[in-house]
């Protein structure tokens, strides 16, 4: 995939992807990066991920706390807030409304 284009897309939706992953359970940075990769988004480096998490935290969409896990060292855990859930709903709907026509347009013409 064209790396630059992928980067541009990601910048627009990475925050929504992170909110989506946090919807049902709290997580920490490295685990989120792995989950994003497992979801097929591709490899997200820390240098891209943590600034997004900080912005989400600053705007109150997630909260964060340092805690020791069940096994292993202390990590900074992120948890979605009510504000974050509302943003996930709204932003998610916006995204779906945005990609539907793009997908429609492109799908018909991509084979030809």
């Amino acid at each position: 995939m064209d790396i630059e284009r992928r980067g541009q897309w990601l910048r627009g939706v990475l925050d929504l992807c992170v909110l989506g992953l946090l919807r049902d359970r709290e997580s920490y940075g490295y685990q989120l990066a792995q989950a994003l990769e497992a979801a097929g988004i591709g490899s997200i480096q820390g240098g891209t991920l943590y600034p997004v998490l900080l912005r989400l935290q600053r705007t109150g969409l997630v909260s964060a706390q340092w805690r020791e896990g069940a096994a292993g060292p202390a990590r900074k855990y992120y948890r979605i807030t009510d504000l974050g859930r509302a943003e996930l709903r709204r932003g998610g709907q916006d995204w779906l409304a945005f990609v539907a026509p793009v997908t429609g347009l492109v799908t018909e013409r991509v084979d030809g």
């Binding site: 990066a33 480096q45 820390g46 943590y50 600034p51 997004v52 600053r58 340092w66 020791e68 900074k76």
Partner: protein, 284 residues
């Protein structure tokens, strides 16, 4: 550049961009955790220290440099402290003045008398010469051994609280709240002897802050802490300082991430107080 070098460079870049100390500590610790979990070249994972620091500063919204708070009244004044054990002079004419709203670090090589100096300040041992004046209530956290194996954490809180005139309920609540600030949910039913060394140290530390002392003396209280707790510990000290406490910390290594106002170096031929230049944002 290995991970440690990269993290040091990153911390310096954050500092240059005036990212708040607390924010910077969290970000550096988180990057260190990430590198430990995932490995990899930090320059690939995070990019160049300067560029990543710029991205962080932008995401956080950097703050202007803090206005130095006016120093409060003197809380601890030790002067001319000399201590001999047999023919060995451990401390010679050492002194320290700490005001409300300051953190002082006592540093120096092993065996140079750091703990002795602190114990003299706490009134636990007498100096051969010199005097200590403490204004207000005193809290002291020993290096280890301040906890009782067969008591629950809650019982420690109640015991210490009783000394400060707190009833059982409030003492327990205050203890648990203070423990949570160190990222520790004190369990109600686990005997202290079953706690890990690091957790016992959290209990120790929690006890020393429970009755909100005006002067807090801490003797390397973070042994056994992992990095996250260590970050929480310094955050907590920052909050106590901002609340007007006078704090003295004995430490064998003064991390560049630690933020102190004064440093007393007891290494022989040293024995001088210098400004907190080792920690960023030193506001001496």
């Amino acid at each position: 550049m290995n991970a440690d070098e990269w993290l040091r460079a990153f911390a310096a870049e954050l500092r240059q961009r005036r990212v708040r100390d607390d924010d910077a500590r969290h970000v550096v610790a988180e990057a260190a955790t990430h590198l430990r979990d995932g490995g990899g070249d930090p320059a690939v994972v995070f990019g160049l220290p300067g560029r990543y620091a710029a991205a962080i500063a932008e995401s956080i919204g950097a703050t202007p440099p803090p206005v130095p708070a006016a120093p409060g009244p003197v809380r601890l004044h030790a002067r001319g402290i000399t201590k001999r054990y047999g023919r060995r002079t451990v401390l010679r004419d050492a002194g320290l003045t700490v005001r409300a709203g300051q953190i002082a670090a006592i540093v120096g090589a092993n065996g140079c008398g750091k703990s002795t100096f602190l114990r003299i300040c706490a009134g636990l041992i007498s100096p051969d010469a010199g005097e200590v004046t403490v204004t207000g209530r005193l809290g002291y956290c020993p290096q280890q051994g301040g906890t009782a194996d067969f008591l629950l954490p809650d019982e420690h809180f109640v015991l210490v609280g009783a000394g400060g005139g707190l009833a059982r309920g409030p003492a327990r609540r205050a203890g648990r709240a203070a423990a949570r600030k160190l990222g520790w949910d004190a369990p109600g039913d686990v005997l202290t002897r079953h706690l890990s060394g690091g957790t016992r140290q959290k209990l120790n530390l929690t006890m020393s802050t429970l009755t909100e002392p005006d002067v807090l003396l801490l003797d390397e209280p973070y042994q056994g802490f992992d990095r996250g707790t260590y970050v929480d510990f310094w955050d907590q000290l920052g909050r106590l300082r901002d609340a007007g406490r006078a704090i003295v910390v004995v430490t064998h290594l003064l991390n560049q991430l630690d933020r102190v106002d004064l440093v007393l170096d007891l290494t022989p031929a040293g024995g001088t107080v210098r400004d907190g230049d080792a920690g960023w944002g030193g506001r001496a």
